[in-house]
């Protein structure tokens, strides 16, 4: 079956990664480049979660309803979810650091165009 949930999620994730790389290498504005990196992050996270999905199984969280119906062992893989949970928080830190650099560069030259930063040291 080509149209399963995992395949659709993988296609969405790969298209988002390509859109992020395209934004990072073709846009001139620094804020647009940072938005491109953010899209790249989201695509990578979707791919990693989709690789751990098992068909017809539920979330790996135990509650009373789950124990009563006896479906506590039909769960998806929890390891990629834990990895992505860490990666989202670190992605926020990286985005904030890039934004602070963009602010310092704007205060130096009063411009956000990437072509106006040509010298290696200023």
């Amino acid at each position: 079956m080509i149209f399963s949930l995992v395949n659709i999620s993988l296609i969405i994730g790969i298209l988002l990664v390509l859109a992020g790389i395209w934004a990072a290498i073709t846009q001139k504005n620094i804020i647009k480049i940072i938005i491109g990196f953010s899209l790249f992050d989201t695509g990578i996270h979707i791919i990693m979660v989709a690789l751990g999905y098992v068909k017809n199984n539920t979330a790996p969280i135990l509650d009373s309803e789950n124990l009563r119906t006896g479906t506590a062992d039909k769960i998806v893989d929890p390891i990629p979810q834990a990895l992505v949970l860490t990666a989202i928080v670190i992605g926020l830190g990286v985005t904030a650091l890039m934004l602070v650099y963009a602010l310092k560069m704007y205060r130096e030259k009063k411009s956000l165009n990437i072509n106006s930063f040509k010298d290696l040291k200023w």
Binding site: S4, L5, L16, I35, L39, T42, V49
Partner: protein
Amino acid sequence: MIQLIIAIVLGMIMILMAGVAIYHKKLKVAIIAAGAVSLFASILYILLAAPDVALTEASIGSGLSVVIFFYVLNKIRKYDTEK
């Protein structure tokens, strides 16, 4: 069955929003579109049976990230193409 239809519609919306976020001229519209991509990725995580990742993505990708972007955009307001 309905999960597949929801996933396909969410994927179309996310790809179009990414296009808006890359190619729109006003920076504030681009930032709102990038927040909307995270908002729909959160629904896709619920379909993929990962509610904890969906919680984190909805709170950080769509809440805190938009706040940080607008805080920086407030300091470089002269550069944003107004009106």
